[in-house]
């Protein structure tokens, strides 16, 4: 059934369809509507869940931790500063292999205070051991969240689905919503074999003495690497049931492309427009959009990008003092490859600085020129910075 939903509503609806049992979230712009919508579902009896009105995001994720450990399906949502505040617990949840699912409305990081969009928040916790998925539109928010619950519980790994604040969270789109029965068939109830239970007492979260810590982290790392195949399998089943196919990445008009753009999230939508215009002019430009960011699919990206002469990595974040996160991860995947395109990093859109199709066309022009010359100019390049600041 088609509904007109903004990104936050899509996220809340996904949690409802997934029959989450414990919700614990603290309101923060631009995620607030997720929390409000869920509260309304519970108040109206449409969703039978415990809604814990926590006093901070740190406690929000802590409540999810306790609930998940007890055997309940737990969900939370946040953005930016909230994600930062709960970041300590992100690592604890993943280290304890609890399948908590989170919706993160990507928002910029303070200081300076910004409620607007970019991907600094989720990218700065890329090391936390969570599976990270990025949606391009509201349909994907709904679908990827349903996928997330299934993926998290089958692998015992927490998962976050990220979507751009305001651009998606506050924009209404037409979304195909599956029925409750269809979702129930895809997502069985959560019943872990290990949970807190006086009939079978166990100790969760002991001291990780040096004799075993290395192994514990290695096993967790291996499990997270395994989430790549896990995602492909689950997405395949999702595609069969619901008709919408998702993969680790999407290749948009990449045949014979000399120039390839790499991007995540809604930025890819704008990039697709720019690619279309270039292709009309006969230029061989394409786009690779990454859906699964952690675990990082190095091999798949190498396969998708090798053919190009030059790759422009577009991202809405910066590891301040160096390059963007997506760029450094991608280049690392190519470190030992014999065939490597030229890589350029473009930092754009921070704090909702608008990225227009024309801006991307300009980027493509720059990239093609430097690709031909075979040398990279300034790297990374910040798109749209006011001239007076650049001097």
């Amino acid at each position: 059934m088609r509904q007109l939903l903004n990104g936050n509503e899509a996220a809340a609806l996904a949690a409802k369809l997934a029959r989450v049992q414990v919700i614990s979230a603290y309101p923060i712009t631009p995620q607030t509507v997720v929390v409000e919508t869920l509260a309304k579902y519970v108040a109206d009896g449409e969703l039978e869940a415990e809604f814990v009105k926590v006093e901070s995001e740190h406690s929000a994720l802590s409540v999810c931790l306790g609930a998940s450990a007890t055997g309940a399906r737990a969900f939370t949502a946040t953005s930016s500063q909230g994600l930062m505040l709960m970041s300590e617990i992100l690592y604890v949840v993943s280290g304890m292999r609890l399948p908590v699912v989170m919706a993160n409305a990507n928002r910029s990081l303070s200081a300076p205070l910004s409620i607007w969009n970019d991907q600094q928040d989720s990218l700065s916790v890329r090391d936390s051991g969570w599976i990270q998925l990025y949606g391009e539109n509201n349909q994907e928010i709904l679908d990827l969240l349903l996928l997330a619950f299934r993926l998290a519980e089958s692998l015992s790994l927490p998962t976050m689905v990220c979507y751009d604040g305001y651009i998606l969270s506050h924009t209404s789109e037409s979304v195909e919503v599956p029925s409750q029965e269809e979702v129930d068939a895809f997502l069985p109830p959560y019943s872990p074999s290990l949970r807190l239970d006086p009939d079978r007492p166990l100790t969760m979260g002991p001291v990780g003495v040096p004799e075993i810590y290395l192994e514990a982290r290695y096993m967790q790392h291996r499990a997270l690497r395994g989430a790549k195949e896990g995602f492909v399998r689950v997405a395949e089943e999702f595609g069969r049931r619901f008709g919408r196919r998702y993969g680790i990445l999407e290749e948009y008009r990449t045949e014979g492309a000399e120039v390839l753009l790499l991007a995540m999230g809604s930025l890819a939508g704008t990039a697709k427009e720019a690619v279309d215009r270039c292709r009309e002019r006969g230029e061989r430009v394409g786009l690779v959009r990454l859906l699964l960011y952690r675990p990082f699919p190095g091999e798949e990206l190498v396969r998708a990008l090798s053919g190009a002469k030059v790759v422009a990595v577009l991202e809405k974040d910066i590891s301040t003092g160096w390059m963007g996160a997506l760029y450094t991860d991608t280049v690392a995947a190519f470190a030992n490859e014999a065939r490597r395109p030229l890589f350029l990093n473009f930092i754009l859109g921070l704090g909702s600085r608008d990225v227009r199709v024309e801006d991307l066309e300009e980027v493509i022009r720059t990239v093609r020129r430097e690709g031909e010359e075979g040398r990279v100019g300034e790297n990374p390049r910040w798109v749209g910075v006011k001239k007076e600041v650049l001097e």
Partner: protein
């Protein structure tokens, strides 16, 4: 009222002897029974009860982080309700740090939302952390294992003002339980300690800046850091032996050989003993003291001379061995503590108290036996690793440069120091040489640049060459008066740490509120957590103490029966942090209540009722005096505490009598 016999907290956990918190835990679990889920904050209790792969918990238990026990418990409770699993009580537990400081927010949220959770705070009034018990510490009575040091003993210490060696009184010995141990290695010293143990380090001020000595914890040390170490002990006095020679009439003594047993040590005797240490043995049952000294070996001539001079007798023997037959002498040497058997020889502690010449003489004797020199470098070989280790320490006290102990295994028949080996054996050697004194007159800055303490009579700087993890072990700590440091394994170390929390009482010494010329310990009063809980208007709030177990159990059961949030604050002495003997924990806990420093009450729906009234309230001094953390308080400061306690008791309606 009866308590179940079943122990829901298994013995074998790593809490310190006398720990109040773990006593509380045990009682609380007995009071609650099995149908619980425990959510624990990071803290002493979490660490000592769950060293993977072991756990002390026989009930379901989860630990997440330091500040969120109440939030995790909220999640557990919500899940149980949603899943329809009834009859299970959720208990959140934290120490004073995890409750009153960093955990306050989550606790407040949990109480405000009305979750059905019992929150227990086990309050030992600070954040609690030491040395491996085999660590050798320099006392006035010689080198001792830190675990053998007694309160009142004089320890050598680094006077931070004058930068000299002084003797200071040890005012406490604390067994701190099992912790991670790391090793700090410098060219001539090795010490094992916990990551929070402070060392005296040189902080370089950089170009134009001043260098100064600062305390840094082991976890902050880096390879290359310069640490203050002991150079040599110049003091010493001849040792008076406590030995009763045999007399005619003693069992089996019919005849006495004319051997003079020395009453005190002397350089000649020490040299003789040094030769014996390397090449000798003793068989008291045969009244035999023997030396494997072949003719031609220089040691042989020396021994004969020394024996005549010191013992008044000439050894007998053949071309390969010398013997002294005297049951007194044999028993005497056996009693000195050098050990028996090539692999078990060692240097006893009293040798370290001898004057320089006597210590040197022992080394000379040892070198005559099993050592050899190559130019300015000397080498000593032995089959006893312990002997090499002790010799190394002894040489350091004599201001020698010493190397590592090199150990190897050899086969039967191979030659080793002029002898063929009779069987497969392991042995090692130690190299040492004289140090060159720095030319301070001509090059003062350069010398000080290399060694901040160049020219100092007793101490010098050494660079840390390695820092490594050494496993988990029991740890011991000492409290030393005034400068609060002592010399362990040659390095200057501080006594460790216990940092303040919001519930640290007024006047208490902690490492973050130390008492000195200006600071006088903790300058804030204890945060009143029970009142904060009361302000949230929850159904049940109570205070308790491990010194009153039935009162505690009664309150635990009452709190658990509440449908909604309940808060229990338990006062728990900590011998390690409060600096009292581990056997006194209950007495200290009771005195806290009997003096009114801790009042036992409960509040049902906001109405406070005192549950124990001491017959006659004792003066606070009786409680404070038992604890080292209050030992710096003046009379006026104690009076101020008394006034505060009086005021608080008046508020609660607890008078002086009953």
């Amino acid at each position: 009222m009866r308590l179940p016999e079943e122990e829901l907290l298994a013995p074998g956990h790593r809490a310190c002897p006398g720990c109040g918190e773990v006593m509380a835990l045990r009682l609380i679990l007995k009071a609650l029974g099995r149908r619980v889920i425990v959510v624990q904050a990071t803290g002493c209790m979490e660490v000592v009860t769950t060293p993977y792969p072991q756990t002390a918990w026989r009930v379901p238990w989860i630990h997440g982080a330091f500040e969120n026990a109440a939030a995790i418990a909220s999640g557990v409770e919500a899940a149980l309700r949603r899943l329809g699993r009834e009859g299970i009580k959720v208990v959140a537990m934290g120490g004073d740090g995890g409750t009153a400081d960093i955990g306050l927010q989550a606790l407040s949220g949990m109480m405000e939302r009305g979750h059905n959770v019992l929150y227990v705070c086990t309050d030992n009034e600070a954040y609690m952390n030491c040395l491996d018990p085999s660590t050798l510490v320099l006392t006035e009575g010689g080198l001792k294992r830190v675990s053998e040091v007694r309160v009142g003993e004089l320890l050598y210490s680094f006077d931070t003002q004058k930068q000299t060696l002084v003797a200071r009184r040890c005012s406490g010995v604390f067994f701190n339980g099992v912790h991670d141990i790391h090793e700090v290695v410098t060219p001539h010293h090795l010490i094992r300690a916990t990551p929070n143990h402070p060392f005296l380090i040189l902080e370089r001020g950089g170009r134009g800046g001043r260098n100064r000595l600062v305390w840094k914890t082991l976890s902050q040390l880096r390879v290359g850091d310069e640490v203050v170490v002991l150079k040599k002990i110049p003091y010493g006095h001849s040792y008076r032996f406590n030995f009763r020679p045999a007399r005619i009439g003693d069992p089996k003594v019919a005849h006495l050989n004319p051997v003079r047993i020395p009453e005190r040590s002397s350089p000649e005797l020490m040299k003789l003993l040094g030769i014996w240490l390397g090449d000798g043995w003793v068989r008291p049952e045969r009244a035999e003291v023997g030396f494997a000294l072949p003719e031609g070996k220089r040691g042989r001539r020396e021994l004969v001379g020394l024996s005549q001079k010191v013992l008044g007798t000439t050894p007998t023997g053949n071309e390969s061995h010398l013997y002294l037959y005297s049951s007194s002498l044999a028993r005497f040497i056996d009693s000195l503590g050098f050990g028996r058997g090539a692999k078990n020889k060692t240097i006893p502690a009293w040798v370290f108290t001898l004057p320089v010449e006597e210590r040197k003489a022992l080394v000379e004797g040892m070198m005559l036996a099993d050592g050899y020199s190559l130019g300015g470098s000397h080498r000593y070989v032995s089959a006893s690793r312990e002997l090499l280790r002790r010799l190394r320490l002894l040489l350091q006290t004599l201001d020698y440069r010493v190397g590592k102990i090199h150990w190897q295994e050899r086969r039967k028949g191979e030659r080793c120091v002029e002898r063929e080996l009779l069987r497969d054996t392991g042995f090692g050697y130690l190299c040492f040489s004289r140090k060159r004194a720095p030319n301070l007159e001509e090059y003062p800055s350069q010398c000080r640049y290399g060694d901040h303490l160049a020219g100092n009579e007793f101490f010098e700087m050494e660079r840390i060459i390695e820092l490594r993890y050494a496993g988990r072990n029991q740890t011991v700590d000492l409290r030393v008066e005034r400068d609060h440091n002592f010399i362990a394994e040659g390095m200057v170390v501080h006594n460790t740490g216990i940092q303040r929390s919001g519930t640290t009482p007024f006047g208490a010494w902690t490492t973050t509120t130390p008492a000195g010329r200006i600071g006088r310990g903790e300058d804030r009063s204890k945060k009143d957590m029970p009142s904060i809980a009361l302000a949230h208007r929850i159904p049940y709030v109570a205070t308790a103490s491990v010194g009153y177990p039935w009162d505690l159990v009664w309150k635990v059961r009452k709190a658990a029966a509440v449908e909604g949030p309940s808060y229990l604050h338990v006062h728990c002495p900590c011998p390690t942090g409060w600096r009292h003997d581990s056997s006194l924990s209950i007495r200290v806990a009771r005195l806290a209540v009997e003096t009114g420093c801790w009042v036992l009450y409960e509040a049902e729906r906001g109405e406070i009722r005192i549950t124990f009234r001491p017959e006659r309230r004792r003066p606070v001094g009786e409680y404070l005096r038992l604890q080292g953390r209050f030992s710096h308080l003046t009379e006026e400061e104690v009076e101020r505490i008394q006034r505060e306690v009086d005021e608080r008791c008046r508020e609660l309606g607890l008078g002086w009598y009953g």
